[in-house]
Symmetry: D2
């Protein structure tokens, strides 16, 4: 298959990661996370996030998010999130099923919520008819490719703490945020008061696996049981752990993410002269959102893989990956221009 | 780490499988199971189990079992299984949590149940206070390493069908059963009337991934949603599918399983002269269960990794793997003999 | 306690109902719904709703709604409802917990949704990441006291059926709708294509109990198990059934509801000259919603029991009951006027 | 219907209770448990069980048990109970569905478990694959009509506390236990270290309602939300509370229970000379269990309502109620003797 702009999980596995997997195949080792690779990976995460942090490995992003949320709630709680949140629109109800909680979708702009918006739903405390608000889950970067500033995250964390609640960050593309912000991941998560982080890698060159990080000991207490009961405990966990060791070694994750971010910027720039294409969201990480005439989009889609994001407005999403090349983008833009020309010539 | 008799998931990944993973890293491909590797793997399974079969890939054995059970039940049903079943004792309540069903543990012998035992719990139909029996879940081979005959499976399937119920087979080591029985997997599962099969590979040289097979169309109907909602849908599924393609190619799975079965037989034989060791279960696949004096077991455990299976009786379990060697076993038995001698000499 | 405008469940029990309860205390009778009173009540409902209808008794409105929804869904489905729906805002997440489904809150006007609004969320069918839309739940009358017309209900039912879905009606005040519309309940529910109805009485003079009605046999199939598993099966069910027999006898339910509706109209009229009070919703059943200066509302609340409906706008709700009298209303309005005057005089 | 030995919930409502219900119908009062009757009932319970106790009203016994268990567990816990426990055999899986926990059925004698039996399942702590044991639930009296001594309850409570667990008592017939033991309820529950009690009344002359009592503050903390989310919050709760006020006033509950216990003793005595009838369980409260020839049982069942308890052994259960009379029993025994004679004469 040629390059896909469909998703950054359409890309394969970075060579360094594949090599790490191969090298982890060293005969026998204890299962379920008591192997040396897992210990090593845990150590690296602890170094990043401090000794009060806890790290657990799971299979995928859905798993990381919903298990983290389960650890932070009772079923009578509600979970607040932007209406665009992946946990709200793309998990087939996984959070509700596992946690039993109500999700409260919040109005957003470019995938981001503000303290004012959140405050409106921080109500009904002590009122038995009302799901008790407990967690705000935001995505960094958002599903629209945008970023919260450090200050915004701090404010949201403070707000949630003020009502004895938690802030969870869905970081399926957290390295892209780090690369774009020029900040270490811990700086705009734990240091801002976030309580839990789903730390992803599969969208950035890893093969499989996600890490769940807690920054409060109380949240980690029962997590190993939650993980097992939710079928997210991996027997040969060394093969996930070894990936994270390689991923976090010498900032591989940041280098890969920087590249995909750069490619999105390059795509944005390459599109800048084309009046038929309107970029709809700030291009801050590795996603470009745009509106273009449906016929053009449709023809382009025959040649290049990507998704229509919003059927009503016709907005499309173009994702760049760690292995997207300028050539891929040049071809894409050139094909786009050809289509526009051919239509104009009619 | 030296050889472990702790579990067949302590072993690593077979070279053919690791190569297949590497080779699947061919750049871009669509996510969530619409790639060519997944299509190929599905085709192979369909060829084995017939065109009315359905196959779905998930992350692990817990996932395969509980998702299959969810597809076969409503929450007011009960799930019958031997009291020794993995789903009953080693899943931290995962089946109950996902399905909402009651598990009914049945008396067993060497991990196997009989029609007579099952019949005693096939009761209360139409009585609203009673969880309605719907599925019998058996393991082939069992957790005690033993095997059901084709006839036994047929009878159990017939019995369940006679009450409008289903037979599910937990086949986390299904290839070992096939190798031991000298029968194709389909012969003693689908052809015997089983309705669903959790088809495992991780304990037999695969790195990750399990397949859920349904032999009735009705059971597959909603499975893709069940899988997504239970967080068992893998984005880069080609890396699981490619393993299964290699695993099922030229009977690699059977060759690997035959070896581990043979090693268990070799271990059994090597132990035969040692009066301190009593083999407690028929050695039919790749597990050897034994009782030996606790002090001996304890000293042996300092040198070789294995688990005490039953704290009360002191029964231990020694698992052989696809990469266990005769040398590993010779060393183990020799160490065992040394310990016995040193104790006798006291 | 003097008259309360807080809720129609602040009122007590109608004398006819209390008498029926007393009379049902005739010594021994079989438990769990196999008594003569239950059979009689079922017969009456069947007469109303036709022979393909099924009726089940439960304890309360929450129970009726969530059990009905459970019977209509799998956990991977979504349930659509107006954002103002009781099941969305006042059940502490009960629907999510029991069904495992996602609730999709819809924009509404005066508590009502339109086909256009619903259509926007009837999407993602066959897309495994998306909760599959299955049920639309509306309230008749709505939580804002307004009514759907027969035609509106028919259209909504048709729309849901066109996507293989269902229409559920939360009828906790269904008799008030009937009284207001001048139509039999079956005419604007079952005859319009509704598939399930929560038929309430406690807000209209009954002591306890609610009926769940299904108009498709398939929906009733497993309901007795669902009810038992959800702890809504009553041992001495004759005492709920006897109430329904009395309630539906000679249109007692309609007479009681007509009175409370009339009282709301009377209240509306009595308020008409008062410029400080703005009625905010069409008064179509037994609720009056209004906005008045917060200080006035607050002082009035010291004398009369009622709730602030919306803390942000200051909108209040005044409910009339089967035993509200004109005198109660006169006193209320007179107190209100006194407060206004005393403030004006400052 | 003539007297039923089927269950003590086949009986009606004691006159004092019915009167209390009627008298509670005093016009308006706030809903959801903030009325004067509820406050009064809570006060009475607090007086009995001390100021650290908490009391909540729910609809029925299933509700009381499963909500109490939900308050005491996380879904990764297991709940231990005698295999004969109502929560294990007669709730259609309600505990599993609400709590997500695994139930561990324990071997029992006459419905009772011992510390030794419980200890065998207090294992796997800290082992992530194993449901973590948290609650032991016993019934007092048991489902077989037998009683735990104060000492036995203390030992079981101590045992559970020693593993940081809880003891729950299903007291659906708790007043019968009190009457039989000649002890106040608090003496053999809270004072023995029990942590929660489902306090029933419906089987002893009440119409509806059950109380959940917690003797540790931590357990009560979230209960009002658990109750609401589980659809067990009653709007017009005064009608349950008023019953409890009457029930606990001047030991009405004990008087009613004493009578039904006495009737069981009288039945036992009346049967004593009949060699065809073998009493199978100690008659300690209001139940008589017996084995008699199936043909006799079957004929007797045509005249008198009762249930076969165990289809395999043919054991039957005869329950006595607060309104069972000696005449009812005399007739029953006389009919039994007639049947025996008529068969002997063949």
């Amino acid at each position: 298959m040629i390059h896909s702009f469909g998703s950054d999980n359409h890309s394969g596995v970075a060579p360094e990661i594949m090599e790490a997997i191969s090298k982890a195949n060293t005969g026998f080792s204890i299962a379920y996370g008591q192997d040396d690779f897992t210990l090593k990976a845990q150590e690296i995460f602890k170094k990043m996030f401090g000794k009060d942090s806890s790290v657990f490995f799971v299979f995928n992003g859905t798993g990381a998010n919903i298990l983290a949320l389960k650890a932070m709630t009772n079923s009578h709680n509600s979970i607040l999130c932007p209406e665009t949140a992946h946990i709200n629109v793309d998990e087939c109800g996984a959070p509700e099923k596992l946690t039993g909680c109500k999700l409260i979708p919040l109005p957003q702009k470019d995938g981001k919520v503000t303290c004012d918006t959140v405050k409106k739903e921080l109500k009904g405390f002590g009122f038995q008819h009302h799901s008790q608000p407990k967690v705000l889950s935001i995505s960094q970067p958002t599903e629209l490719g945008t970023l919260y500033t450090k200050e915004e995250i701090s404010s949201l964390a403070q707000l949630m703490h003020s009502v004895d609640g938690y802030l969870h960050i869905d970081g399926s593309r957290i390295s892209n945020a780090s690369a774009a912000l020029g900040m270490k991941i811990e700086e705009f998560t734990k240091d801002c008061g976030a309580d839990a982080l789903s730390f992803g890698g599969t969208k950035n060159g890893m093969m499989i696996g996600e890490a769940v990080l807690f920054f409060k000991k109380e949240l980690a207490q029962n997590f190993m049981y939650i993980r097992k009961q939710a079928a997210q405990l991996y027997s040969k966990n060394r093969f996930i752990a070894a990936q994270f060791v390689a991923f976090l070694n010498n900032d591989l994750n940041i280098r890969l993410a920087t590249h995909s971010n750069d490619m999105a910027k390059y795509l944005e720039k390459s599109l800048s002269g084309i009046k038929e294409v309107k970029i709809t969201r700030p291009v801050q990480t590795n996603a470009v959102f745009a509106i273009l005439p449906r016929e053009i989009a449709s023809r382009l889609n025959e040649k290049h893989y990507f998704y229509v994001w919003d059927e009503f407005s016709g907005e499309v999403r173009w994702m760049c990956s760690f292995n997207t090349t300028k050539k891929d983008i040049d071809l894409f833009v050139s094909d786009l221009k050809d289509i526009i020309n051919s239509i104009d010539n009619l």
